[in-house]
């Protein structure tokens, strides 16, 4: 299942792109999905184990701290006993110190071993997370690829059964131009209608015939002014 994308590309270049020739068949897709679910579960378990180990390490660290405190306290006691000339008591305390030091060594070793396991498990968890994310992405590519193939096959079937939508790019372009022409015609008709309704088209016709309404008006005004001027004389 590695490098699904490459597999798909190779298959497509080879012309394997038909339905029923799925690049990655359904059976292996299902197996792959199951593997991803298993890996997901394993990863969850590993994370839980890691959390347990880390808690254990924290507990060991605490015990080591306690042992160290105990040793320094007993060393203090032993010194006091020696100062007081209590050689036997000091020996008894020293024995206790030796015992605690041995415990300290054991705990430290255990902690070191645990730390190594924690580091190993952390690395494994990280690796698994990375791998799982990759598998999931690849599965998505496979599933989307198949989905697109099934979808287009379905569209093709539907187009073939519907003769009116079965047309090449040239016919489509023709229909686009027809629509654009219709839209233009409609637009022109609108402009024409607007002109008619506003009387603008009539003005245009009169102008074309040499009858300019606005020029006439100016002449009329001038004539009126002239008439008024002569009347005052």
């Amino acid at each position: 299942m590695r490098s699904v994308m490459k597999k798909i590309m190779t298959a497509m270049r080879g012309g394997v792109n038909e339905l029923g020739e799925a690049v990655v068949d359904n059976q292996s897709t299902r197996i792959f999905e199951q593997e991803i679910r298993d890996a997901d579960n394993e990863l969850r378990n590993a994370r839980r184990e890691l959390a347990g180990l880390m808690a254990e390490a924290a507990s060991l660290a605490r015990q080591i701290g306690n042992a160290e405190a105990e040793i320094s306290r007993r060393e203090n006691d032993a010194q006091k006993a020696l100062a007081a000339g209590q050689e036997d008591l000091a020996r008894e305390v020293a024995e206790r110190i030796v015992e605690t030091e041995r415990q300290h060594v054991d705990l430290s070793h255990a902690r070191q071993r645990l730390q190594v396991r924690i580091e190993q498990l952390k690395a494994r968890v990280q690796q698994a997370e990375k791998q799982l994310a990759e598998y999931k992405r690849e599965l998505q590519v496979v599933k989307t690829n198949e989905r697109v193939l099934r979808t287009t096959a379905q569209i093709d079937t539907s187009m073939n059964s519907n003769r009116s939508s079965l047309s090449g790019a040239k016919e489509t372009l023709e229909r686009i131009r027809e629509r654009q022409q219709r839209e233009e015609d409609r637009q022109n008709a609108h402009v024409q209608l607007d002109k008619e309704l506003s009387g603008a088209d009539l003005d245009e016709k009169l102008k074309a015939a040499g009858i300019d309404g606005s020029k006439q008006a100016v002449d009329d005004v001038l004539a009126r002014l002239k008439g008024a001027g002569s009347g005052s004389n």
Binding site: R147, L149, Q154, S158, I176
Partner: protein
């Protein structure tokens, strides 16, 4: 977002003065054929998967292209694909397509914008590549 609720909402909707005519495509997969007013010649096909809403328009088939000009067409398609808004060019089987993929959580108006843009882009592309048609 699924195809059923999209069918319902698109049938009633108007986006940027455009209306949508939605028709399911018969078959097992939930596929819609969506015709956008003002660009009815280039219907958009839409399907919803786990990870995306895929919208695509068929442009032409390989056999409709002058064989000698295929490399030129491919070069132009690759170059035009990047600046073209909300659309990319691709090939499925023998079909050259212009498509857009949206997140399944996209809003209705995101989807409508995609549909309008795709249908309009498809017309522009057909006009652009007309001279390489056989």
């Amino acid at each position: 977002m699924d195809t059923q609720s999209l069918t319902l909402s698109l049938s009633e909707a108007v986006y940027a003065g455009r209306q949508f005519d939605v028709m399911p495509v018969a078959g097992e997969e939930p596929v819609l054929q969506i015709t956008v007013s003002g660009a009815t010649e280039t219907p958009v096909y839409l399907t919803v998967t786990e990870t995306q809403i895929l919208c695509l328009v068929y442009l032409f088939d390989e056999k409709e292209i002058q064989a000698a000009r295929l490399p030129e067409l491919h070069e132009s398609m690759l170059r035009i694909s990047v600046p073209m808004p909300l659309s990319a060019l691709g090939k499925v089987g023998e079909h050259y397509v212009v498509y857009g993929a949206l997140s399944p959580t996209s809003s209705e108006s995101d989807i409508m914008q995609e549909l309008v843009t795709l249908a309009d882009n498809a017309i522009d592309l057909l006009e652009t590549f007309e001279d390489v048609l056989a």
